[in-house]
């Protein structure tokens, strides 16, 4: 399959052509948001991070922001720093510029305050806006795609219908030479042995098991039963009883392709095929990690129904619950409830999802995009100091 995308200097292909206005820290978030608001094609990535973080926790923030800037859905980048934060704007801009795209940076303390930084930032952003508008879509192969596989607000139809559809789509994309990323380490608890069997080497399988063990140990250290948070109250109302049941349904999103590797949060896959990324089960942070890892498109299954989108990548919603589809059609792109009703098969719905992905890659807006849903959140390993 083919799509019309934006070829970037590093050879990757975007399906969107955004200007990312990235605050290096929470202190620059307001200025970044105001610049993006007033510039055509610009989106801000407001976040609470970037300062008073230490060690690996700071590394996660830096790697995530750098990966988001480098994502091929972004045509140009403006990094806004306050000046004194842990994530230095110039370092971040330098890292993003390795992708070859135009990357500018601005320091509020050097500009002389909010108004001066906004004015200067708006001038730069205006220029970037016109510049990226000249980039035309050209034909690209589906092998250029990195697909993020997400689920949220699951119920029992997720594991029975919508997640197997994701699995079908992931397998088909892998056959076409593309890459897919499964995530949410918490939602492997109780199912990790099934996925580990598909690892291409024993080391990769062992690393996956170790990631899950570390996640479970972290939760257990709280001294409580995970239930109520995993599964959530909505999961339980939908019929999911235990984290094991949720996890076993969750991994159907990964289809049956061999597991090529295990990625850190925000890390890009080193090759093609099916990968797992270490993220929390929280949907927004999970999507952020996969888009930072280079995913251009997110497919998202939901049984209970969820409206979430993402600032830089289209999110295609699929439900396996026919009642939810009727109830929340304004948020959900694809009805896989036909599988539960017995009128369509998993491959039939899978082919519909592939056709939708093709259209969305060509520029069709998803419902989340049309509604300007731009949920954004970065995973944290520990508290700030």
């Amino acid at each position: 399959m083919k799509f019309m995308g934006y070829v970037r200097p590093d050879g990757r292909v975007g399906v969107r052509n955004h200007i990312a206005v990235i605050p290096a820290s929470v202190c620059a978030a307001t200025v970044a948001a105001r610049i993006a608001e007033q510039t055509e094609g610009a989106v801000a990535l407001p976040n609470q991070h970037g300062c008073a973080q230490i060690g690996p926790d700071l590394d996660v923030t830096f790697r995530t922001l750098a990966g988001l800037g480098a994502n091929p859905n972004v045509g140009a980048v403006l990094v806004i720093g306050l000046g004194c934060e842990s994530v230095q704007a110039d370092d971040l801009a330098r890292e993003i510029a390795k992708s070859g795209k135009r990357t500018e940076s601005l320091i509020i303390q050097k500009c002389g305050g909010t108004l001066k930084a906004q004015e200067q930032g708006l001038r730069i952003a205006r220029e970037l806006s016109q510049e990226v508008s000249k980039i035309a879509r050209t034909e690209a192969d589906f092998s250029k795609l990195v697909l993020a596989l997400e689920c949220g607000g699951s119920d029992t139809t997720s594991g029975l219908a919508a997640n197997p559809v994701h699995g079908y789509v992931s397998d088909r994309l892998v056959e076409m030479g593309g890459a897919s990323i499964l995530s949410e380490t918490t939602e492997l608890i109780g199912a990790e042995h099934v996925l580990a069997r598909r690892a291409v080497t024993k080391e990769i399988g062992d690393r996956l098991i170790e990631m899950v063990r570390a996640c479970e140990a972290k939760a257990n250290a709280m001294g409580v039963d995970m239930r109520g948070s995993q599964p959530t109250p909505g999961n339980i109302q939908g019929g999911l009883t235990t984290i094991e049941e949720k996890s076993l349904g969750c991994i159907y999103k990964g289809g049956s392709s061999p597991l090529q590797g295990v990625l850190e949060y925000g890390e890009a896959p080193g090759g093609k095929g099916f990968y797992f990324m270490d993220t929390p089960g929280q949907d927004i942070e999970s999507i952020t990690g996969m888009v930072a890892g280079g995913a251009q498109v997110v497919i998202f299954t939901t049984g209970r129904g969820t409206p979430t989108g993402f600032p830089l990548a289209p999110v295609i919603k699929i439900t396996g619950n026919p009642i939810t589809f009727r109830l929340m059609e304004e948020n959900i792109d694809i009805n896989a409830g036909t599988i539960i009703e017995g009128t369509e098969s998993i491959p039939q719905v899978g082919e519909r999802v592939l056709a939708e992905i093709e259209e969305v890659c060509n520029g069709k807006l998803t419902k989340a995009e049309a509604l300007k849903h731009m949920e954004f959140g970065i995973y944290k390993l520990t508290s700030t100091f």
Partner: protein, 104 residues
């Protein structure tokens, strides 16, 4: 054929209701290429599970052919299986001191 419930693996101890099922209703589901029927002993909401055979207290409950937890009480054939009679064996920090943490 109209199915009322779905079995994900032939060795499973539970099936999932594909519609709201009323107490006393006969639910049809496929197993091993054939159609089987079971009378549900209580109302089973859409998407919820019921037992395909008697499950002893403490027994491991299977879905997708894998363990999804253990029964905290005896569960009769056709009865609702959910948080009131099935618990996780994983993510149990509350049991960590009793060796129940990451127990399989």
């Amino acid at each position: 054929m109209k199915r009322d419930a779905l079995l994900t693996n032939e060795i499973d101890s539970v099936a999932t209701a594909l519609a709201d099922l009323a107490r006393g209703q006969e639910a049809a589901f496929e197993r091993g290429g054939g159609v089987e029927r079971i009378v549900v002993g209580e109302d089973i909401p859409f998407g919820h599970k019921f037992a395909l055979a008697d499950i002893a207290e403490g027994a491991t409950v299977l879905k997708y052919g894998e363990a999804i937890g253990r029964a905290t009480a005896f569960i009769g054939r056709g009865m609702h299986v959910h948080v009131h009679n099935l618990e996780s064996m994983r993510g149990r920090g509350d049991l960590a001191g009793q060796g129940g943490g990451a127990k399989k």
